[in-house]
Point group: C2
Chain length 414, copies 2
C-alpha cells in the first residue's frame, strides 16, 4: 500500500488526464450501491479491521432505556448492522429494500466512526458529517423530490446584508425560482428558519430546499416563490468557515446567550429582501416557517407581526400559549390563510404542538396539525417543507364560520 | 461508550438547547489547534488504535523514487508524522511553526485514512475529502487572504444557464463583489476555469475565490470585478450531487471523451453573463484564466477569440505552440494587456510554460512567467489567483517597442 499511494497521488495530481484508469486498489468499490430491489449495498475495504459496522437512519431504530435518575426515558437509537469480510479485505452489507428517502450513514470501524471513502456525498449537521444517499423507489416519492431531475433549476445565492439592529454584516441563502433572471414578474416569499446549531446553509444543504422547490414548481404543485434562509442566531453572522469568529459550530440557541430575539432583527432581513429582489409584498404573499428553534421563532414572528405573515409553518417547534393569548388574538384577527404545525409522534415537542392546535381550534381558526412518525429529525423537516410549500400562496381558503371571535376569547383568558 | 452515545444523540436531537454542556467524551478535543508560535496541534481520541499518524501538506514532503520501467521518477509524497498516545487514549502531535497558508490534512489510523472528528472544516478535491485549517502567521500573508475578515463580502451564486451548443442546462458559480446589489455600475469580468475532475464549485471551495477577492478588493489591491466559474467539462452539467447523472466525480477531462472543445460552448456562457449581469464588455474588461485543464482551455479561448480577452492567466496549464503559430499571431496583434503564466518548479507543465514564455518574448510581447515552488497543487493555484487578480483591468501598460511584429513572425514560422 505504501508503494501504491504515492503512485496514485502522483498520477492524480500531475498527470490528471490519465489518472482515471489508474486509481488503484480499493478505488473501484461502489458504495453505497442502490440495487434493483431498492436494497442498498455498502462496501468498505480494510483488511486490518476486526469489526466493521454501518449505522444510519435506513436501519430500524433500537429502543434504548436511559436512566436519568429521577426517571427512565426510551430513546430510539440509530440501528447498527455488521458488514461481513470477504477474502479481499472488502467488507459488505446489504440492507432490506428501502422506501424512497434521503438516508444518512457512517461506518464504525472497530467501534470508531469512519466516512465511506467510496461515497463523495456527505452532509454536515451542526458539527457532524455523515455520508448520504438518495433513493427514489417510485416516481413521486420523497426521495424523488430530494433528488435532481431534468427540470428547470432555480438559483441559490449566498448573500450578505447589513443588519442595523445587530450592527453587523450577516449572510443569508436565497433561492430564486427558475426563470427569475429572465423575467420581470414579482414572486411571493417564504422565510425559512433553521434550528439550534444550524445556520444559513442548513435548509439548502440538509433540507434540500432547492431540489424540493425545483421539483414541486416544475410539476405545478407549488407556486414559484423566493425562499429566504437567513442565519437565525444573532451572534453568528454566518455559517462556520464563512464568518470570522464562528469556527466550530455548537448547538447555539440564540436565546441561550442573550435577550436579543429574532423579532427585533428580522425587519432588517425583510427590508433587504424587499429592496433587492422582485418580491410580491404583503400578507397574502409572505410566509414564515422554521424547524425546532426556527419553529418557535416563526411562531413568535407571527405573533409580533400579525399583519405580515399570511402563512406560518411550525416544524417541530412552537411558541407557548401562556402569556401570548392577546398576541394570538391579533393573529386570529387577520384570519391567517394557513397556520401549519408539523411534528413527529416521538418528538418531545408533540405535546405543545397538539395544545397549540387545540387552542387554534377553540378560537375558531383551525390550524393544521400534521403528525408524522419519528422524532426531531431532518427526515421529517424535509417532508414538512415538501407538504407546506404546496399550500403556500394559494387563493384564500373559504373558511367555516368561526366558532368565536378573538375578542371574547381574550376576555375569557384575561 | 455504547451507553454514552444514545445519551449524546438524544440530547443533541431532542433537547437542543441544553446539549451544549453535555456533549460527552471526546467532544471537548480541539483539533487542529493553532498555537501562539504558529505550530499546530492535532488531537485524536481512539484508545483502540495501534498507530495514529497525520499526513498533510504542512509537513515536509518525502521524495520517493518511482520505477516506471523505462525510467525512474522522483515524486514528492506528502509527509507523515506519528501522533503519540496519552493515558486517556488521546493521540497528539504538534507541528513545527508554520507559514501563513491554507493547509490540508487527514489522519491515518492503523494505516487507514480517517477524518478529524474535531474539525468540521473540510474540502473536497475531485472525490477526496480532507480536513483543512487556515493559518495567518502575519497580516497580509497568504493565509490571511484565504481567511474571512471583517471586510465587505461579495455574493456567491449557483446559477443555471441554457447552453444551446451543448443542448442542456448547465450550472455556474458567480461571484459578484460587495455593493453589486446596491449599485448600478458595471464591472469587468474574470472567467475562471477549473481543472480535470473539478467542477463549478472547485474555485469557490478549494480556491477560496470569494475570500481572496473580498480581501483584495477591500484593500484596494484588486479592482471590483465579477468572477464567473462555469463547469468546463462538456458532459457534466453540474458538480456531483447538483446534476442528474454526475454522481461520483472522476478525473474527467473534457478532451478525453469527445471532440467538443470549450471554444464551441463558451459563447453560451458569456452571452448569459453579459445578459444577466451588469458587465463592462470588451477586451479591456474581460479576462480568462484557469488551472491545469482550465489553463489549456484559457489558452485555447484566447487563441480562438483573440479580440475578446485582454487578460489571460494560465495556471499550471498551457496550450501548445506547434500548429497554433498563426493563432498566437492574432493574439499578439491585439497587444494583450496581460498574458500571465504561473507554474510550480516541480510541475511537469513547467517545460511547456517556459517555452510559451520564450515564444512570447521572441514575438516581442513579453508574457509574465511566475515560477513558484512545488507542483500541480491547489496551494499554487490560490496563490496564482491572488497575484493575477491584482493585475487585472488596470490602465493599459506602457509597452516597450515590440522586437518584431507578428506578420514577420508568422512568415518565419511558416
Amino acid at each position: 500500500m505504501k508503494r501504491f499511494l504515492p503512485v496514485i497521488l502522483f498520477l492524480g495530481l500531475s498527470l490528471a488526464a490519465s489518472a482515471q484508469q489508474a486509481l488503484g486498489p480499493g478505488s473501484g468499490l461502489v458504495s453505497s450501491e442502490i440495487n434493483p430491489d431498492h436494497s442498498v449495498t455498502f462496501r468498505y475495504q480494510n483488511p486490518k479491521a476486526k469489526v466493521v459496522q454501518v449505522t444510519g437512519d435506513f436501519l430500524p431504530t433500537r429502543p434504548i432505556e436511559i436512566d436519568l435518575g429521577e426517571r427512565v426515558i426510551i430513546y430510539d437509537a440509530p440501528g447498527v448492522a455488521d458488514l461481513k469480510e470477504g477474502p479481499d479485505g472488502v467488507w459488505t452489507y446489504t440492507s432490506a429494500p428501502l422506501e424512497g428517502e434521503l438516508y444518512s450513514y457512517s461506518f464504525l470501524v472497530d467501534g470508531k466512526k469512519a466516512m465511506d471513502p467510496s461515497n463523495v456525498h456527505q452532509n454536515r449537521d451542526v458539527a457532524t458529517w455523515t455520508n448520504i444517499f438518495i433513493l427514489s423507489a417510485q416516481p413521486g416519492d420523497k426521495g424523488w423530490y430530494y433528488g435532481v431531475h431534468n427540470v428547470p433549476h432555480g438559483t441559490v445565492s449566498h448573500v450578505w446584508y447589513e443588519s442595523a439592529t445587530l450592527n453587523s454584516q450577516r449572510r443569508m441563502t436565497v433561492y430564486t425560482p427558475a426563470g427569475y433572471e429572465n423575467g420581470t414578474q414579482s414572486y411571493p416569499v417564504l422565510y425559512l428558519l433553521h434550528g439550534s446549531g444550524g445556520d444559513e446553509d442548513a435548509w439548502s444543504d440538509l433540507g434540500r430546499t432547492a431540489q424540493i422547490m425545483d421539483n414541486l414548481i416544475a410539476e405545478g404543485k407549488a407556486k414559484p416563490m423566493i425562499v429566504v434562509m437567513p442565519n437565525g442566531v444573532w451572534f453568528n453572522q454566518a455559517a462556520p468557515g464563512a464568518a470570522v469568529d464562528n469556527f466550530q459550530p455548537t448547538m447555539a440557541n440564540s436565546r441561550s446567550q442573550s435577550t436579543i430575539e429574532i423579532e427585533e432583527s428580522f425587519p432588517d432581513v425583510m427590508q433587504f429582501v424587499e429592496k433587492h429582489y422582485r418580491v410580491s409584498k404583503g400578507y397574502a404573499h409572505t410566509a414564515v416557517a422554521g424547524l425546532s428553534m426556527g419553529g418557535r421563532q416563526s411562531c413568535m414572528l407571527s405573533l409580533h407581526y400579525p399583519d405580515t405573515f399570511g402563512y406560518v409553518g411550525l416544524f417541530s417547534g412552537v411558541g407557548t400559549i401562556e402569556g401570548n393569548e392577546q398576541a394570538f388574538a391579533k393573529v386570529f384577527a387577520y384570519e391567517p390563510k394557513l397556520y401549519w404545525i408539523g411534528c413527529g409522534k416521538a418528538d418531545g415537542i408533540m405535546e405543545n404542538s397538539r395544545r397549540l392546535k387545540e387552542w387554534f381550534d377553540f378560537q375558531g381558526f383551525p390550524a393544521t396539525l400534521y403528525e408524522s412518525e419519528g422524532g426531531h429529525i431532518w427526515r421529517n423537516w424535509r417532508e414538512y417543507l415538501t407538504i407546506f410549500a404546496q399550500q403556500l400562496f394559494r387563493a384564500p381558503q373559504q373558511r367555516k364560520q368561526p366558532v368565536r371571535r378573538y375578542t371574547s376569547a381574550v376576555s375569557e383568558v384575561d
